[in-house]
Amino acid sequence: MNQLGFPLVSLVLWLPTLGALALLFVPRDNVATQRMLAFGVALVTFLVSLPLLFAFNFGISSFQFVDSIPWMQSLGIGYRVSVDGVSLWFVLLTTFMTPLAMVMTWDTVRQNFRTFQLLLLLLESGVIGVFAAQDMFLFYIFFEFTLVPTALLIGMYGGPDRVRAATKAFLYPFAASLFMLLGIIGIYLAHGQQTGTYTFDMAQILASRGFSATPGATGQPTLLLTPTVERLLFGTFFIAFAVKMPLWPFHTWLVLAHEQASSDGSVDVLALLMKLGGYGFIRYNIQLFPEVSRWAAPVIGVLAVIQILYAAWCAFAQTDIKRLLAYSSISHLGFAALGMFALNELGVSGAVFQMISSGLVTGGLFFAAGMIYARRGTRDVTELSGLWKVTPVLGGLTLALVFASIGLPGLSGFIGEYTIMQGAWLSTALGWRFVALAAIGTILAAAYFLHMYQRSFMGDVTPPNANLVDLTPREIGILGALLVVILGIGVYPNFMLGPMQPTMQQIAQVLGSAVAAVTP
């Protein structure tokens, strides 16, 4: 079984679903019980997920805590869930953010509260599933499934243009990930034809692509693809993840979705900021197709740089805080993409760090935007003014988050950005030119974020803003918890980078040999 002799990952994965089912039995009107139940389930899930970290074996580069049950055996499909150094952090991020998001919804969702909680819990399961599933078929199922609660949450509880936002947030990634289905089928068949075993098991497929379970060792690839096939397969995954992540120019749906998603930020955080696409890039594109990754890296690097600058530039013009945050998140993801396709240990680690950090920081900012909206009824910075004076705690915590997002060293945002830049600089695929341009993004980030902060939180207090109440202890708790983590991993990032290393070493090694194979 696994090192615990206990299906821990499965437990983490299915607890929210069980909670969602349990919610069905709570009477529709009993909001208090619904709150406690949903929050309790989310919290318990988080607590249960912590042992994943404590029991994690830092010396293994492949999957741990493996739960494997045959499912459709004749097709080689299995229920296989587990984590490795990369997915571990995404799982923990999800379980950590969900209880906070739950608490955020308590004040904002007035109608159909039960359904909202239920969908959030389902969403949590789905997202965890994406990170934990190590069977391509299962992965695809979770990957697509998350769209349903996402679309419903946006469409049922969103802003005035919610229907369009929900439609787009569903259709665009859905359409794109259908291509991934093709890619999955293609790999499955190629693997079956070449090795004789028809399977969707990621561990097996990775092994036959040259990944070894022990860090430092080099495996022998047995699944060999012709360059054309490999590029096409890479392309199918790329489209899916590029839209999902999103990469420029596939990003517009995300902006709209963020803008229209329910004001409290819960959906933004759980559905839109969880970087399923970025995770997919690392797990599938880079690990499965090292050679094509190397081939495509410069192009994707260019896209990433454009994304960093373009999104930051667009963010500057935004007056809706959530739209601004959406662009900011896109800009951050540009860094993540740059790091991934630096194709070295530093870059990929930095990318993972950046995505986690972006989830925390931008998530916190979305919560903060929700808190502003709950008080003021608008997120338009032209109507806000002097909030820092009226609500000092909100102002202070928001400012801390803003600076974390800008990339102040000591907070989490910087670590990711710097390691990415360093990685990209050292990368044979990218190089310093990319970094030089990407670094400009840090200026632009400061510009748009502080511009926003200046307009909404600083300045004199205009009458409509004069009588706002400051944060409640509960809200302080939400942002405080986030800030503690942000500061914690900013000051001691090795906490996260350490467990990642074995996996990263393996990735770097395989990529390295791919590089060696390509360079004449």
Binding site: Q73, L75, F142, L171, F174, L178, F179, I185, L189
Partner: protein, 485 residues
């Protein structure tokens, strides 16, 4: 004169259905309660289905190889009977509500079921032709069953004229095939082809005939460009009949087409695969793209059923290439698609008022607030049709794509993927209406027990087979076309 030896087991299910139908016909004379006749017919389908269980792995044929009973046919029989059962369930209250309550409805339904089973089991062009015609004749009547409602009559007439036209081609095709090979038995045709040394003139003639036969079946499965009748007929027919046609007649058509291609023409695979693949692509594109502009949900479902014909056809095409799982993929898709479409049409029935505007997209608005479970069920159906994971529709699509890819039809899978993406648009529109808009005034869903059970069975089936497809997968994997190959 000596009557031939007949293997009763092979015809058992068909016989049960026909005899039951005749029994019902008698009952119509004496029993006033139409509902009771419906329930009795339901029992008939169950009996027939149960009768098939011991026949698993029988793999026998009778009547000189005209009728085969392999697992393929058996599985199809169960699918057909299931379709009929659910159709009966959703018709029970539909008929009186719309003032068209006549016992003959169920009789015709049973006749159609028998015809479908003939198409599944038939291994001879004569049987296939007769089965197809029997199916058509009953469906003409069923489509027009809501006369004097104009749309129903119009549907029947359109179906009739196009059907008769197609029948002409089918007969001519059979004539050519027969002329070229001297046989009407599929196995014999295969043998003939195998004996021919290369592309003789006879083979050319046979191929032209085969083309016309495919046209005849293609009309039944609503393959483009023989699909044009579909939206009009579905819209005009009484909704349960439309549901029945969209899944039953289509499944039967596929059953026959697949058997014809797999048993009779495997040797000419290289010839028919490209053209049929092209038509499958056109079918998917036309069906799904046309549906985008529809605001009439019934028509939208009709177009979508055209699109799905393309996906199923992918399975058929992958059919008998080496190592491919085409046939089983097709069967799985049929199961998934049948459950889903039946449930979707059933939900339509609940919304159907006396007017005909009830199928407009707006009548779905806010359904979730009025009838949460109904909305959830419809949502599941839509997601299943779109191929969303955790529903049977997804597994079906996956299966079909994988089979087609394996058979080398990669470009076709790309078309499939693109059209699936397009289809998600209009399926999602219904979900959006149900969950994200406020309720429309005036539309009050009416649910009765038959519909309840029908929708529940189908929806649960969609979910269960989406999450645990193993039973169906095992079933279809063993449902190979065993006879005649």
């Amino acid at each position: 004169m000596e009557l031939p030896q007949v293997d009763i087991a092979v015809v058992l299910q068909i016989a049960i259905v026909f005899v039951w139908a005749m029994g019902m016909l008698l009952a119509v004379l004496f029993v006033k309660n139409v509902r009771a006749i419906g329930l009795a017919s339901l029992v008939g389908t169950v009996v027939a289905a149960l009768a098939g269980i011991p026949l698993w792995n029988a793999n026998r044929s009778t009547f000189g190889g005209m009728l085969a009973l392999d697992n393929y046919a058996l599985t199809l029989n169960w699918i057909f009977l299931g379709i009929t059962a659910i159709t009966i369930l959703i018709s029970l209250d539909y008929l009186p509500r719309h003032g068209i309550e006549q016992g003959e409805y169920y009789v015709l339904l049973l006749f159609a079921t028998g015809a479908m089973m003939l198409l599944g089991q038939g291994n001879d062009l004569i049987v296939l032709f007769l089965g197809l015609e029997l199916l058509s004749i009953t469906l003409y009547v069923l489509a027009g069953f809501a006369y004097p409602r104009l749309s129903s009559e119009e549907a029947a007439m359109k179906y009739l004229l196009v059907g008769a036209f197609a029948a002409g081609f089918l007969v001519f095709g059979i004539a050519l095939v027969y002329g070229a090979s001297g046989a009407s038995n599929l196995t014999a045709i295969n043998t003939f082809l195998a004996q021919q040394n290369g592309r003789t003139d006879d083979v050319s003639l046979l191929l032209v005939g085969a083309a016309l036969v495919v046209v005849g079946f293609g009309y039944k499965i609503a393959m483009a460009p023989f699909h044009m009748w579909t939206p009009d007929v579905y819209e005009g027919s009484p909704t349960p009949v439309a549901a029945f046609m969209s899944v039953g007649a289509k499944s039967a058509g596929f059953a026959a087409l697949t058997r014809f291609l797999v048993v009779a023409l495997p040797a000419e695979r290289a010839v028919w695969v490209p053209i049929l693949a092209a038509l499958a692509a056109v079918t998917m594109i036309v069906g799904n793209v046309s549906a985008v502009a529809q605001t009439n949900v019934k028509r939208m479902l009709a177009y979508s059923s055209v699109g799905h014909a393309g996906y199923i056809l992918m399975g058929t095409l992958a059919g008998n290439s080496t190592g491919s799982r085409g046939v089983e993929a097709m069967l799985f898709y049929l199961v998934a698609y049948s459950l889903t479409n039946l449930a979707a049409f059933a939900v339509l029935i609940t919304l159907e008022q006396r007017g005909e505007s009830a199928w407009s997209l707006d009548s779905f608005a806010g359904l979730w607030e009025r009838q949460p479970w109904l909305a959830v069920a419809m949502g599941i159906c839509m997601f299943s049709l779109a191929g969303m994971p955790l529903t049977a529709g997804f597994v079906g699509k996956f299966y079909v794509f994988a089979a087609a890819w394996q058979a080398g039809l990669i470009w076709l899978t790309v078309v499939g993927v693109v059209t699936s993406a397009i289809s998600a648009f209009f399926y999602l529109r219904i979900v959006v209406q149900m969950f994200m808009r406020s309720p429309a005034a005036g539309v009050r869903p009416v649910i009765d027990r038959g519909l309840d059970i029908g929708i529940a069975i189908a929806t649960i089936g969609i979910l269960v087979f989406g999450i645990i497809p193993t039973p169906i997968v095992d079933l279809v994997q063993n449902s190979i076309v065993a006879l005649g190959q």
